[in-house]
């Protein structure tokens, strides 16, 4: 199921597919958000933005606008 990273709910995991903004992509790539990497949404800030995701073994925070440039496939939880 294709979504963007900003649409995940807390606790949901997904696999990074691609990026829609090449400038943002570069910034995210260097932070370890590479295609094929599993991400999990851990926290959402109280005002709904930014969000914190678990990726490459650490916690990364980013704004929703930034997260929405990352296309992901949702992983079905708890198989």
């Amino acid at each position: 199921m294709a979504k963007n990273l900003a649409q995940l709910k807390i606790g949901e995991s997904a696999i990074i597919d691609s990026f829609t903004d090449k400038h943002m992509a570069l910034k995210l790539l260097e932070m370890g958000c590479t295609p094929g990497e599993v991400v999990q949404l851990d926290h959402i800030a109280p005002m709904g933005d930014p969000i914190a995701i678990r990726v490459s073994g650490y916690l990364l925070s980013l704004r929703k606008a930034e997260a929405s440039t990352v296309l992901v496939s949702l992983l079905v939880a708890n198989i």
Binding site: L26, E30, M31, T34, D42, P46, L59, S61, L62
Partner: protein, 713 residues
Amino acid sequence: MEANQSIVNFSERTSLKVALVGNPNSGKSTLFNALTGLNQKTGNFPGVTVDKKSGFAKLNSTITAEFIDLPGTYSLYPKSLDERVAFDALCNPDNEDYPDVTIIVADASNLKRNLFLVSQIIDLKMPVILALNMMDMVEKEGDVIDIIRLSEKLGVKVVGVSARNKEGVKALKQFLLEPLPVPQYDFIDVKKLASELIDKIAAVVKVKSDFEAFQIISNFSETHFFDKDAGKKVILSSILSASTIDYEKLQSQEAVERYKIINRIVEECITHKSAIKTESFTHKLDSILTHRIWGYVIFLTVLFFIFQAIFFLAAYPMQWIETSFVLLSDFAIQFLPSGELTNLFVNGILAGLSGIVVFVPQIVLLFTFIAVLEDTGYMARVSFIMDKLMRKFGLNGRSVIPLMSGVACAVPAIMSTRTISSWKERIITIMVTPLMSCSARLPVYTLLISLIIPQTAGFFNYQGLILMSLYLIGFIAAMGAAFTMKKILKSREKSYFIMELPVYRSPQWRTVGLTIFDKVKLFLLDAGKIILAISVILWFLSSHAPGNRLDVIEKKYESSEMLIKYNDTERQAKSASEKLEASYAGILGKSIEPAIAPLGFDWKIGIALVTSFAAREVFVGTMATIYSVGNTDNTQTIRSKMSAEINPKTGLPQFSVAVGFSLMIFYAFAMQCMSTLAVVYRETKSRKWPAIQFLFMTALAYFSSLLVYQLLK
């Protein structure tokens, strides 16, 4: 990829330049502190406003190493100012900070992402040592890193350290003395990505690696490559502009290629205790600290404590400092021969020094809190929960602490904006923080409020209400100014919020101590100079007059007529008042009267405006002198003198409600604080920003006061 190495050996040298580079939160600065101790100095990276920390340590009896702490960076893509500094030092051999050896500090508990920068530096083919920091964390989680294997895979020396416990630091120093392998292989084959261009660049510039050429291609416009070699610069830019290659796409491809190999290496070198990570301590704590209610409750509590500390707790040592300086002045007056030099020493230099040292308690307290919040990882959460709100005003989540601290004092507050990484957000925070009502305004407000607002008994106290409104007005003005600056300021830097939320750790008191030491030193040396100079100038202006005007006044009050008319205290007060009026400051006050008359101010207030440029609270003392009140500690007397003052034109009290409000608004907005200006100059390293700040705040003060006075008159 293991083979193919060349070796360098520095054991014959007497000095060695070592750069420390690593991701933010990798513990790089902790390691730097562990390596150099107090033997540090702060300077400038050439041509930029980023502080450069360097320190020295003896490696053995003959070799001294200079360690340079480069700003934290995730990659060699120079996007922010900090990243550009690290990039320039490592990628440009002409740079004065180009190191003999580079120590890459990597967070071992977060190896994958940290290896990205490592892989880029390896491809520059320079001597490197990889310091795997936070090995204690890795062990605590039960993971095992095969350091020997990692070293083989990367082709560089790897040493496990735990900078917090100072473990492995000796081994790291020892490695600098041993023969070092210089990686000769390519971590990734960048030629695959842009072979033609790399060849073209390599034909013009002598590069050590394909990656160096690749870096020139993808970052040419961002950096200062070949600034000294205009000829080459022209050739290179013509080569690059002829190419249709998409540099950003090129870098993205590079990043993906790197992570492919990194993933393999990580898989081979790390054994995880269990595949499933348990709910970590950090995760649980984050659920509370970023909670939609508790998150703010806790943050407000923290702010409250910081505020209390710098507002009330600091008052005691500040009092001691002031008292000591008074004693010192009395002592000097008593034992030094009276004359111009003593006068300069006591009223110019000692007074100036007192005005500098008095800030130290607030700086120490604020930075104790900030260093702890930063060190534990909580500061990143503050940004996280405040980002959305602050972003609307062009500020950063981290601007909250400087703004709140500004209520106590803008000087430490502005120094604390260092934690804001975006240049634009940091500048805006610096520019608007002095609009927050600081504690120096309080004596001015208290005096003026008591003058114009009757003390009402009973439930509702108007005086308190007015005071609260003044604080609120300051806050609103700060946010308004921030919003305006957000629209005006142009920045090439995009505002990001892509940052790591580090795991929570207990603070290191050593780091906290060093931060405080560093801040106090910088303030005393850099800002202190300017404050002292202005103090001396202000002293001169208010104690000197053209010709022999002061002598004439002195003689007048020594005449027998005056001796009969007034007692000693009265005589001294009257003479001081008349002298101040005759002084250069008095002349200045009178000459600005036409300009400030529309605000309802007379020349007496004009003098106070001039002298309180040293610090706002000087207003009260100046008023006391002008109104010939002998004892300046007694506000009651100043108040009654001031309220008895009649405006000669109207025949009504000079300090009417309109004048009082106009004056309070003026003090709320005006940049009447040379210490703040000195600190802004120090922090922005440019005369432009303090000048703009002074002008916009003065203009805001002037026109607001004008409006208030004309409406209320």
